[in-house]
Every structure is written in C-alpha cells, then in structure tokens.
C-alpha cells in the first residue's frame, strides 16, 4: 500500500510541477510586433520543414555537423549577412535549399527572435 501511495504522490507532484513549468517557469519577456510574429512563425516552420535541427542546435536541441545557431544573429564572427549567404547558396557541408528571398527573411526573423531571448548565452557563454 505504501508503494502505491508513494507512486500517487510522485504523480501528483509531477502534474503540479508540469503546470508550473507550462506557465510561470517559461515566460518569454521579449516583445515582438504582430508582423514580426507572423514572420517568426513562418521562419520556424521553414526551419522545421527542412529539418535544420539535424545539423544545427538551438538551445542545445539538434545535431553538431553545423554550428550552433542560438546566438548566431548577434555573433561578431557570423551575423545576419553571413547567415543570409549560407541560406542562399549552402556551404561545404550544407546543401543549397533554394530558399526564396522571403523565406530567407523569415528564417532570419526567427533566428533574430531566438537570439533576442538568449540572455543566458550572452551572460555566460562566448560562442565561436
């Protein structure tokens, strides 16, 4: 009986913890306009549709064949134009996805948004 009670107690703790994570634990303080939001969401869908996560990481999720992209937008060694060039033509390892200019704008908007939220990186981690 004690085992069942411990199990139920842990499950209740898990449910409560999940609710807190879903709400107050993950508030995004960055502000974007409606137009930007639409572009960001389009960029996110393009990022997923082309499975960019296979090679690139965002907040630690993804593969290592390509560089981490969480703070690529504000990185002094990379930045917007550098990323645009790769999105347009591909690279040594990166295939050319033949993105249109609008698609490139949306992906850049998505990466810019992520970069804006990456306070932990900018405070602690110097990216290559």
């Amino acid at each position: 009986m004690a085992k069942v009670l411990v199990f139920i107690t842990l499950i209740i703790c898990f449910i409560l913890y999940s609710i807190v994570i879903y709400t107050t634990g993950t508030i995004d303080h960055s502000k974007v306009s409606t137009t930007e939001y639409v572009s960001i969401q389009k960029g996110k869908m393009l990022f997923q549709k082309n499975n960019c996560t296979a090679c690139h990481q965002i907040y630690g999720l993804g593969g290592y064949l390509g560089p981490e992209l969480t703070t690529a937008f504000s990185d002094s060694l990379r930045g917007e134009q550098y990323m645009r060039a790769f999105l347009k033509s591909g690279g040594a390892r990166m295939p050319n996805f033949h993105f249109t200019s609008e698609e490139i704008d949306n992906i850049i908007a998505y990466l810019k948004y992520i970069d804006g939220t990456a306070t932990t990186y900018k405070n602690d981690i110097k990216q290559p």
Binding site: F7, N51, T53, G62, A92
Partner: protein, 453 residues
C-alpha cells in the same frame, strides 16, 4: 534434438517483434556509420542522402529498436508471468502491422525529404498520432493479461507500467508545440521539448530495466530480488529522476532558475545509484566470474560496466559549471551512445538471447561462440568509439575557449571524427554478428511444443 517447452499462441508474433527490432538496429547503425562518413567527407552523399536525412533515420530507427525489442520481449514474458495466454491475441498482430506500416511510412518520408523537424521526432507530426495508436493494443494486452496487483507485484511490473504510462504522457507532451501557447514562445517550446524528451528516454529505460530485472530473476532463480525493498528504493529513485531531472539539459535555456535547481538536486540523487554500484562491485565481479558462461548474464554485466561509465559522465555533465563547457559537444553524444548501445542494447540482447536459450537450448549452444565474439567485438570497439566522442568534445571545448571559428573547430576535431567513424564500423560488425546469431535462431522452427494456448 527437439525440446519440450511451454509455448503460447502469441510467441510467434513476439518473436516477429524481435526480428523487426533487430532489422531497425542494423539499419540504424548503417545510417550512423553513413553519418560518420559525412563528418569526415563533407561531400559524401551530400545531394542524394544528406545528413539532414541520415541523422533522423539513425535516431528514429535506434529509438524504434529499443521500443520494439522491449515490446517483443514483454509480449513473450507476459503470458509466462500471468500463466495464461495474452488477453487480446489479435491485438498483438494489429500492433505489429501498425508498427511496420508506420515505420515504412516514416522511412519513406525521410527519404523523400518530408520532415517535422523536431528533435527525436523528425517525421511529420501527424504520424505521432499513429504511433500513439499503435501503443494502445500493447497497453490493453499488458493490463488485461497481467491484471496486476501492485501491492504484491515485483518491481519489473512497476517498471513496465511506468514505462507505458509515461510513453503516452511524453509523446503527447512533445506535440504541445502545435498549440500556439507553447509553439509561439521559444523558451516554453524548448523547455517543454526537453521536458518531454528527457522523460521519454526515462520511459523506455523503465521498459528495458524491467526486462533486465525479469531476466535476472529467471537466470538467478531468486524471486526475492524483484520484490526487495532495495529494488523498490532504486525504482522510485529512477522514477523521480524520470519526472524531474530533465532540467539538467536546460541550464542554457532562459527559463526560471528554479527549474535548473530542481533538476540539479534530483540528478545528484543518482549518486546513490553510483555509490551502490561501487559498494556492490566485488560482489558483482564474483557473480560475473561465476556466471560468465551464461550468455544473458554476461550481457547484463556488460551493461553494468556501461551504467557505471555513463552515470559517472552524466553526473559530471550535470554540474552547471561543467555543463557550461560540455553542452553542445560530442560529450553529450558519447553519453547518448553509451546509454543506447552500452546499456539498452546489451540489456535487450540479454533478453533476446535469454528467450532463444529458453526455447532452443541445443541450437543456442551452437551459436554461443559467435555471440561471445560479437559481444567482445562490440564492447571493445564501443569503448574506443565512446572515448573518441569524448575526445572530439574536449577538442571542441578547447577550440571554443580559444574563440576559434566553426571551420577551425571542425578542423581540430577531424582526427576524432575519423576515430569515431572507424570504430563505429567495428561496433557495426560486432552488432551484425550478434544480430545474425539472433535472427538465425529466432527463425528456427525446430521446436516441439506443448501448446498451452
């Protein structure tokens, strides 16, 4: 010589699950080796089968190997534990059919370039619904066949119950991003994704550890181990970690600081598991030497060594000051590979060989030397593979500290990429030997059975 063993009318389908699982494993490793070559030869299959495709194939198939081999084993063990046939025989076949159909669809999607683009679940999202549905017959059969009484049930029943329940929870949770409230906020999206995936790994570990407990009980003949207070203590410790330790992946995500603190404290409770391994070391070693000729036992001992190595690595990686450096490097991959191949694959092979040994003792005797060779090759090569992933991670950390560009980092890591690709080939050969031995005997049908169905 034919053997008399009790059999059930679902054994054939259970073994079909195991054969399917082995085919996943071989294909997963092939994609892994291909991906390795794409690290050392940037143009290798770049336009025909790019890393964008080989990685999701590798990941999906590796996960499928674990789930399918676990489900096949459980389907085989269920009627033997309950002493009655599986409750819904057709459900087992429906499950198998759904599993095969979903896998073929996902593999075709990856080859054609249709992605969902989410870590682990890189296939189009609607397929998640079918995966969810495919687990329903398994769940119905588990509960209806066992009708578990949790007051007296051994720990492996608890492991399996937890694994099943949390697979449904975590699979559902991993698709919350489809709701704008989650998907529209990158911090929430990433945190919930890490939460779901971290616990999903815990759910399949529960299935595998339960199997390991069951096999250990049968091999040792000691039914008290699986009901002992220490077994339940470590079950609840593992269960707590399944639910709360995922946050050690999110030190870099700007979620609330207490998320990380909870994860760190819970993760450090795993020191108790590590301490127990060290405490029991001499006893384990003596038992291993005594039972070395028993193949399933030997594979469980391989896993024990890998648990020690990976737990040590996981604890190091979970310390925030060290995670700062190890995050985003192949050290994380070393942990994933050590767990997937070193622990889960060894335990699942222990289960497969236990089933074969039970059913076809004479045929099993003939393949024993191949299994011994396969086990040695796999584990020796895996040590080199694991160490070279760590080497690659350390090289990347060193290059990052020197503020090198990504191209320079890749150049400095190149020797390690070669080391893990070539040792990966040897791991593949070892697994291939084990798989051939497994497939050949699983398919053998020279058994005289007392049909108990």
């Amino acid at each position: 010589m034919p053997e008399n063993k009790v059999s059930y009318n679902t054994d054939k389908t259970a073994k079909a699950f195991l054969l399917l699982a082995i085919s996943y494993l071989l294909f997963a490793l092939l994609m892994g080796v291909t991906g390795g070559f794409q690290y050392i030869l940037p143009d290798f299959l770049k336009d025909k089968l790019s890393f964008q495709q080989t990685r999701p194939l590798h990941v999906y198939l590796a996960i499928s190997w674990i789930f399918t081999a676990a489900q096949g084993s459980i389907y085989y063990y269920l009627p033997r534990i309950a002493n009655r046939p599986i409750a819904w025989k057709n459900g087992v076949q429906v499950h198998l059919l759904l599993q095969i159909t979903i896998s073929i669809t996902i593999i075709i999607c990856f080859f054609l370039g249709y992605f969902g683009g989410r870590e682990y679940l890189e296939f189009p999202p609607f397929l998640g619904l079918f995966i969810f549905a495919s687990w329903i017959p398994f769940t119905i059969n588990f509960f209806r066949t066992l009708k578990p009484n949790y007051k007296t049930a051994p720990v492996y029943i608890w492991n399996w119950t937890t694994g099943i329940i949390f697979f449904f929870i975590t699979l559902s949770e991993s698709y919350l991003w489809l709701i704008d409230y989650f998907g529209g906020n990158i911090i929430r999206d990433v945190t919930v994704q890490w939460k779901a995936l971290g616990s999903m790994v815990g759910s399949w570990n529960m299935l595998v550890y339960g199997i390991s407990f069951y096999v250990m009980e049968k091999v040792s003949g000691n039914t008290k181990i699986a009901k002992s207070p220490i077994a339940f203590f470590f079950y609840f410790l593992g269960f707590t970690n399944l639910m709360f330790n995922w946050g050690h992946h999110t030190y870099i995500v700007p979620a609330a600081p207490w998320v990380k603190m909870v994860a760190y404290i819970v993760t450090m409770t795993e020191l108790l598991i590590l301490g127990n391994i060290i405490w029991q070391w001499r006893k384990t070693l003596n038992a291993a030497l005594k039972n070395y000729s028993n193949i399933p036992y030997r594979f469980m001992m391989y896993a024990e060594v890998w648990i020690f190595l990976n737990l040590t690595l996981a604890l190091i990686m979970s310390v925030p000051a060290w995670n700062y450096y190890t995050h985003g490097t192949h050290i994380t991959v070393a942990h994933a590979m050590g767990t997937t191949i070193g622990i889960n694959t060894m335990l699942l092979f222990a289960s497969i060989f236990f089933i074969i040994q039970e059913e076809l003792a004479s045929a099993f005797g003939k393949i024993k030397k191949w299994i011994t060779a396969g086990g040695r090759i796999t584990n020796t090569a895996l040590i080199v593979f694991w160490a070279s992933l760590l080497g690659s991670g350390i090289a990347k950390i060193s290059a990052k500290m020197e503020h090198n560009s990504f191209t320079e980092i890749m150049k400095k890591c190149a020797p390690w990429f070669q080391a893990f690709t070539y040792s990966g080939i040897i791991v593949y050969i070892g697994i291939l030997i084990l798989s051939i031995a497994g497939v050949k005997t699983l398919r053998a049908n020279s058994i005289k059975r007392t049909n108990n169905s």
